[in-house]
Symmetry: C2
Subunit: 602 residues, 2 copies
């Protein structure tokens, strides 16, 4: 390790711009550049411990820098360091500086980029920070109190932060135990812990709490690495599979709300434990939790009475973001850890949709476009071609595309029929995990409808033309037939019509025709797996060129991750929350007409 941390005697801070990416680091004037880079959360290897012997930390640097050190002059003489290069362990920033760090050191945010999302566009600047400090120990001539000494040292490094009560309890002994050479852990502007300078890692965990599935992502907040992903079904399902039945349970059962809150909080603790075991990290090293979820999931998690969500005019108690303590929900992370709830857009367009917008940067894109997150409630966001303004709505598609109320329907589980194709005129199926078929999941159902239409077995009206059922599997292991019945087609028709109606309403509102759409983004697990062409052929999606329909994966979860690693993304979220207009589908005059029109298969 090189000499690191900021001496509290330095009283001015300066800015270093780090390329590629343009990240801005605030640090004490005169700080070693390698320390500034590390303080920004980039782990730079210095095998020689900063003694200027390995030349591994050569970077491009310009601006207000200290003069070449003897070591650097020698390195340049020996040709080990190019013109314009400096050794990060030798050079100090004395004013505005620009540096370019070699790619290998740039672990940051690029590591959690995934799928079609554009996370790399946000600056890596977690709300959780770890700041190395070498404090001057108190003496008779400098008897400033410990807390004020700490806060002053941070202020000198350009960081505004204050101690929380829990860390004051034994701050004095901790600082003395570490000889006043320590790392301060910050969540936002709160100092939540003091630890040894080399304690690691510093983690955060992002939750995507879906009505059906909960996913957790454990991230290293110093490097941006994703350490583990774990998921589980939302155990609230046993109190109701959809949002409305859970709200009813909360409203009508004694302690119903508490039970639902406790259920999901317990699951979150299970997932925290699992993720930590997987990554071999102590849960105490998690300093912040972020959460996306629809409004109902958010209310139930926070134990907020959800009744108003289920009664006209369907107004949630809160849609805005919340900065809380993880302990206030009983989450087993660092005892003073933070909890950030992403803002939503309205009662039916929640923080999950916000996650999709953030992760796809839909709000800064150009041209007419749709972002669709298909689910029991399907959220559709449209972008106006000229103004770039966003309009969102939610349409109640029901559970058909998740296999609900479908005779042979099932979720996207092992053995689910996820593909149905015509191969040489014969119907072939493909199951998840190539396992024995157990049912048909949403993408399989869409394929089945498309194949039925291709084979002339299904009228545009939705009538099944030959026989009562389109058989896919004659007999599964439970000796059941797997197929699509007339009743199933009617359920799917209703779901499809709800989604298609929502799309048409949004297109109508932004004033463009289907053909003028520059792109459609499909978010969520379901959207990620469907056959886009088949979805178009049954009228679920607008019939634009297939390459314009992009599947962007679990963008909602990406949004939760973004909130952990980028404060800028949080600021964007607040901006989006203010600017997106949410339509109330039921308020739309033509709703009934469009819905009925949308029932037909073309």
């Amino acid at each position: 390790m090189s000499a690191s941390g900021t001496e509290h005697v330095v009283t001015r801070s300066i800015e270093i711009v780090m390329e590629p990416g343009g990240r801005r680091i605030r640090t004490a004037r005169g700080a070693l550049v390698v320390d500034a880079i590390r303080q920004a959360g980039v782990d730079m290897e210095t095998p020689c411990d900063g003694r200027g012997r390995c030349y591994r930390c050569a970077i491009e640097a310009s601006g207000a820098l200290s003069p070449l050190s003897e070591i650097e002059e020698e390195a340049r003489r020996l040709g080990l360091m190019g013109a314009g290069q400096r050794l990060a362990c030798q050079v100090r920033s004395v004013g505005p500086t620009k540096i370019r760090v070699p790619e290998f050191a740039l672990t940051g945010i690029a590591q959690i980029m995934a799928d079609g999302t554009q996370i790399g566009h946000y600056s890596f600047e977690p709300n959780v920070r770890r700041v190395l400090l070498r404090l001057v120990p108190p003496s008779v001539s400098d008897d400033v109190a410990d807390r004020e000494r700490l806060e002053r040292a941070l202020a000198d490094a350009g960081i505004r932060a204050r101690c929380t009560l829990p860390i004051l309890a034994n701050l004095g002994q901790k600082l003395r135990g570490l000889q006043f050479h320590c790392a301060a852990l910050l969540v936002g502007e709160e100092i939540i812990d003091i630890e040894a300078p080399d304690a690691a890692p510093v983690c955060g965990i992002a939750f995507d709490i879906g009505t059906t599935t909960v996913v957790a992502y454990l991230l290293d907040l110093l490097t941006g690495h994703e350490l583990a992903v774990v998921s589980a079904l939302n155990p609230q399902s046993r109190f109701g599979s959809d949002v409305i039945s859970r709200i009813t349970f909360a409203a009508e059962q004694s302690e119903g709300l508490r039970v639902l809150a406790r259920t999901v909080r317990t699951l979150m603790n299970d997932l925290i434990k699992k993720a930590c075991t997987k990554a071999k990290v102590g849960a105490q090293r998690i300093y912040e939790v972020s959460v996306v979820g629809n409004a109902a999931m958010q209310h139930l998690l926070l134990a907020i009475d959800p009744r108003s969500l289920a009664l006209a005019p369907y107004v949630p108690t809160t849609t805005g973001s919340l900065n809380l303590r993880a302990a206030s929900l009983g989450l087993n992370v660092h005892p003073n850890g933070g909890l950030f709830i992403l803002p939503g857009l309205g009662g039916f367009v929640g923080a999950d949709t916000m996650g999709v917008i953030l992760a796809t940067r839909f709000h800064v894109g150009q041209g007419a476009a749709l972002a669709i997150d298909i689910g029991t409630n399907t959220e559709i966001v449209g972008r106006e071609p000229d103004s770039g303004r966003l309009i969102a709505l939610s349409t109640p598609a029901g559970p058909a595309f998740e296999g609900g109320r479908i005779t042979s329907g099932c979720r996207g589980m092992i053995g689910a029929i996820q593909r149905v194709r015509l191969i040489d005129g014969k119907v072939g199926v493909e199951t998840i995990g190539n396992a024995n078929p157990v049912g048909i999941c949403g993408s399989g159902l869409i394929d089945a409808l498309a194949v039925m239409r291709q084979l002339g077995l299904l009228a545009a009206s939705g009538r099944v033309l030959q026989g009562a059922e389109f058989l896919l599997v004659k007999e599964d292991r439970q000796q059941r037939k797997l197929g699509v019945t007339q009743k199933d087609v009617r359920e799917l028709q209703l779901a499809k019509a709800a989604i298609a109606t929502g799309i048409k309403m949004v297109l109508n509102e932004i004033g463009i025709a289907e053909k003028d759409l520059r792109e459609i983004l499909l978010a969520g697990a379901f959207g990620n797996f469907i056959d886009r062409a088949n979805a178009q052929s049954i009228g679920l999606l607008p019939g634009i060129a297939i390459e314009k329909v992009r599947q962007v994966g679990n963008a909602a979860g990406q949004g939760a991750k973004l909130a952990l690693v980028s404060k800028a993304a949080r600021v964007e979220a607040e901006k989006v929350a203010r600017e997106v207009r949410v339509l109330n589908l039921a308020q739309q005059a033509k709703f009934q007409d469009v819905f009925l029109e949308s029932m037909a298969f073309n």
Copy 2:
């Protein structure tokens, strides 16, 4: 009641200056003046419910006002309203306005002015606010969430505030139950409760936690009225009568710190209960608690390890202010109530001294002066004549002036000899409550020394010249003699010398002679009761003209009250904390010499 609260559709805020006092009220443009006055916490009587029939709310008003209403025109015609007057229930402010409210309505801060303190100079602007809101209920065309609706309405009235998690739990039902016509309770920028618009009162409680005595003041934060004062001995005394022995107990006994914290918190809850019973107020109506105390009392209250306070270089863990939740210390007030700990100046010059400075406005006064709070630790603050800068130190006087280690010594209790006088050459005593004498308290001891000197019974060196004891009471009810022995004189000499040394050190530091002092302020119960001339005659206080020595009462407690009723006072406190220079007595080169010199009685 008149129509009150702010409609959330009003989007601009304006300022009303209210005389006498010059208080500034921010309110929504177009708001009724009576509502603005109430919002500012002044309870104005309107017996006719704002229907313009009683003319009781006539005020002087000028500036940007709505035109005369029909009712006002009639009032003027009938001579019920003078020129320049308006009816507060009729007139609306549409821009900057100046009003003068009749004295009877001005209950505010003047009510808690006391003793020699100058609380009236601060603006009445409690950190706890109660804002009346008439929200537009949500509808299909305005489906903003409840929390955002509430925060928006406050923002429209120029108030930035956010909901806390606990109130979200049933915010929806509360607002609906009140038909969206409610009062929002704010602590700082946090909305901590929603209640009926006419719920009352809104209270705060201020604590002065002394090493020996704890005093609590219950205040009505809408009017500034003091509703109750209660006090009790600090029960931590049973773990040690002075600060050092309590710190030792905390450090050496298992759970010692917890026991001490629990002890004082329990007492605070007892005092809260007593004060509420006395004032017939529910403890849930207390929305904020403020606390002054010396650094050790503060550490023990907050369960912060106090060991560093007792070991060189005697550095506390924290001296700055803290904004906490009352529930974090288990205080039984409103469950979301706030807790404000006033900032101190250093390890031995705590928030109690800050209270003295604030309450006496010592920091903005003119000319050379001292403020002295005599106690086991005696704090002395000096003001430089030209710069106005403050210098503070603490001197360990010991418990002699509180009756400790004195043969017949006692605290200022019923029966304590508080005055000793020569009447016609004979020694006469006066006890507290004119009760049978039980001992001699500090003011009596000072008098006794002065009388002994007058009678020629005491040499300047401190030697008792006739007999072993100066007898005051031959036999009390327990058949004991009460008097002052040679040993007692030595104890008192040490205490006096410590204080006199501190005074000399401060005077030396601010570079003036005793005679140039413009005033000396004596704070604290003891300072309030001593005979100033006798204190001067034994060399405890500088011998300046007696009228320049002012006794200002429990100024520390006044400081705690101030923090409750005036945010401006808190800002001042932070400023004072940054600016006062604290001297370390032991660091002063001449300390030993001056101390030895100060032993003699002139």
